[in-house]
């Protein structure tokens, strides 16, 4: 496959070029807010790719993925909140007044979401099929209501962040710099996941999706592998959440609402389940449709619905499959 100009390589190359030149292009066109929109797309792309690792590759239909997105966002929000109040974070064994540094916030957001995913996954993965869908949904809704009932962090109204994370030498207030940071993180995440799904570990979770009973008969302790994948996916969503908190300078319980989980899932399905780059396209498609159609009608979902049905019926590998054609080894 290497060295040849396949349709896939062309699509990937073009996409990368568009992503790289987008901010200057937006400015030149006199529409600098497009960079902000694009940043939002990239953030959701990270979340969607992380969901696809367990949904498309592992066959785990998690309907609570926004929970980890929200936890990542709240981790940043809470650290920021305490850093500005000068108050101590409750329930910690030592006195800590948070941090405004991204070097602290982002890794911690990833870690905390990963821990939650580990616990939620450990319980949810004991079930299968519809029960798994329902239990992941239930856990996410639990966290949603928990944050609503927590007045310290704004309850239903959420938390407004005083400022964006500090990440010297970058200035995250600069929309360009924020955009390119998000792009680099997305590309890094994609590269890591590309290794993952094609590794021995990846073959195991893909095997579990196709025939878990047979995996067990071969001697694989499938539960452990699925749990590890679930945790990794939660960490990815946590990173996306940390970026989203900075992007909107706000964290709120709505970030964990089940409709948000649904949106992320729609991105995966639209873009192409079980393809690594599809969810990026899916995030772009959904958010751009929202952006454009919302200006025409507030009932933009009326258009989204039939479109989604169309994609599911006629493009089994989503928008991505429609663009690059037949599946190859590496998708």
């Amino acid at each position: 496959m290497e060295g040849r100009l396949t349709r896939r390589a062309v699509v990937h190359g073009l996409a990368l070029i568009i992503l790289v030149v987008l901010p200057p292009l937006a400015d030149a066109a006199g529409e600098p807010f497009l960079t902000t929109v694009a940043s939002r797309i990239l953030i959701y792309a990270i979340a969607a790719v992380s969901l696809d690792v367990i949904l498309g590759y592992g066959g785990m239909v998690s309907f609570g993925h926004a929970a980890f997105f929200g936890i990542g966002a709240y981790t940043v929000g809470i650290l920021m909140h305490h850093a500005f109040d000068g108050t101590v974070i409750p329930f910690l064994p030592w006195d800590w007044t948070g941090s405004v540094s991204a070097f602290v916030q982002f890794p911690l957001a990833i870690l905390v979401s990963g821990l939650f995913a580990l616990v939620i996954g450990a319980l949810s993965l004991r079930t299968q099929g519809v029960y798994f869908i329902m239990i992941t949904l239930a856990f996410a809704q639990m966290l949603y209501y928990f944050m609503i009932s927590l007045p310290t962090y704004g309850g239903e109204d959420g938390l407004n962040l005083w400022e964006r994370s500090s990440l010297p030498p970058l200035d995250l207030y600069d929309e360009w710099q924020f955009y390119y940071l998000t792009l680099v993180l997305l590309l890094l995440f994609l590269a890591l996941m590309q290794r993952l799904v094609n590794s021995r570990f990846g073959m195991v979770i893909r095997g579990c999706k196709q025939n878990e009973a047979r995996m067990k008969a071969l001697g694989f302790a499938t539960y452990r592998y699925k749990l590890a994948a679930f945790t990794i996916a939660g960490m990815g969503a946590g990173l996306a959440g940390a970026l989203a908190a900075n992007h909107t300078e706000f964290v709120g319980p709505d970030m964990m609402h089940w409709t948000r989980s649904g949106e992320i899932m729609i991105m995966v399905i639209l873009g192409g389940m079980g393809t690594l780059y599809g969810p990026v396209l899916g995030a772009a498609t959904l958010l751009l449709m929202e952006e454009v159609l919302q200006q025409i009608t507030e009932h933009w979902m009326v258009v989204l619905g039939p479109f989604l049905v169309f994609v599911v019926l006629f493009a089994r590998r989503g928008v991505y499959g429609w663009l690059v054609g037949k599946a190859t080894d590496d998708d």
Binding site: N198, S199, R200, F201, A213, A217
Partner: protein, 253 residues
């Protein structure tokens, strides 16, 4: 390691399983010796597949014990039994349809090589997986189909692949549930040619309907009727037994 005939490879003791009022296994006891092909026969509904399921760990017995190499495995989960060397193949083809034939076998090889928490190296370019997989595919006669997806293989080839996976996982006991199901004459003869040289190398518990196959391959035969063991003996003894004739052959037509 000394294997005396007194220590059976697999020992099933008083195995019982009932689904409500239906008794699928009724105080079942038999043993498989190391290296022998042991056939499990009986009319439809005799509980052969249920017995296999309990031995492989997919079905939990109501009572009784399963011992493997002298070790009690009654409560071990399927994947632990598999790790000990007890592998099964399925009556209904059970493969990984999105993968190629080679991927399928490589996954069976991978299961033998310790944990799979390896996130970096590409599994499809890993010679430690692909070389043994290719070897087994060659032995089974599927080498030219290695890059085809399972869904592109003919039924008989899928059955062969099923056996290839079982062999690639280096079992000491192989549970074969109707390996020739749905095969044509020549395919099933080819399958017999693949199974025969395994005699003496690994123990095989074979569920099979075709009596010609059973009598040609098996060292010993156990006859099940309505979940209970009627007798165990050499093919000759079983063939000559009047009770077997009545219970088994009589029921057939």
């Amino acid at each position: 390691m000394t294997r005396t005939p007194e220590v059976p490879l697999l020992e099933v003791v008083d195995l019982s399983k009932s689904y409500g009022a239906v008794v699928a296994s009724d105080n079942l006891s038999f043993a498989v010796r190391p290296g022998e092909i042991h056939a499990l026969i009986g009319p439809n509904g005799a509980g052969k597949t249920t017995a296999i399921g309990q031995i492989s760990g997919e079905i939990r017995p109501s009572a009784g014990r399963v011992r493997f190499q002298g070790r009690d495995i009654t409560r071990l989960p399927t994947h632990k039994r598999a790790q000990l060397g007890l592998k099964r193949s399925y009556q209904i083809t059970s493969l990984f349809p999105e993968f190629t034939a080679e991927d399928n076998v490589a996954l069976a090889v991978q299961a033998q090589q310790g944990h799979s928490f390896r996130f970096w190296t590409r599994a499809r370019r890993d010679a430690a997986l692909r070389a043994p997989a290719t070897q087994v595919l060659e032995r089974i006669g599927l080498a030219d189909k290695a890059k085809l997806k399972v869904t592109e293989l003919a039924h008989g080839e899928q059955r062969q692949l099923e056996l290839a996976m079982a062999l690639a996982s280096e079992p000491s006991l192989l549970l074969l549930d109707e390996p020739m199901a749905g095969m044509g004459q020549s395919e099933s003869r080819a399958m017999m040619d693949l199974l025969r040289p395994l005699k003496g190398q690994i123990g095989i518990l074979l569920v099979e309907h075709d009596m010609d196959v059973v009598f040609a391959l098996a060292d010993r035969v156990s006859v099940l009727v309505k979940g209970a063991l009627l007798m165990t003996g050499t093919p000759q003894q079983v063939r000559d037994d009047p009770e077997v004739r009545r219970a088994y052959l009589g029921d057939e037509d």
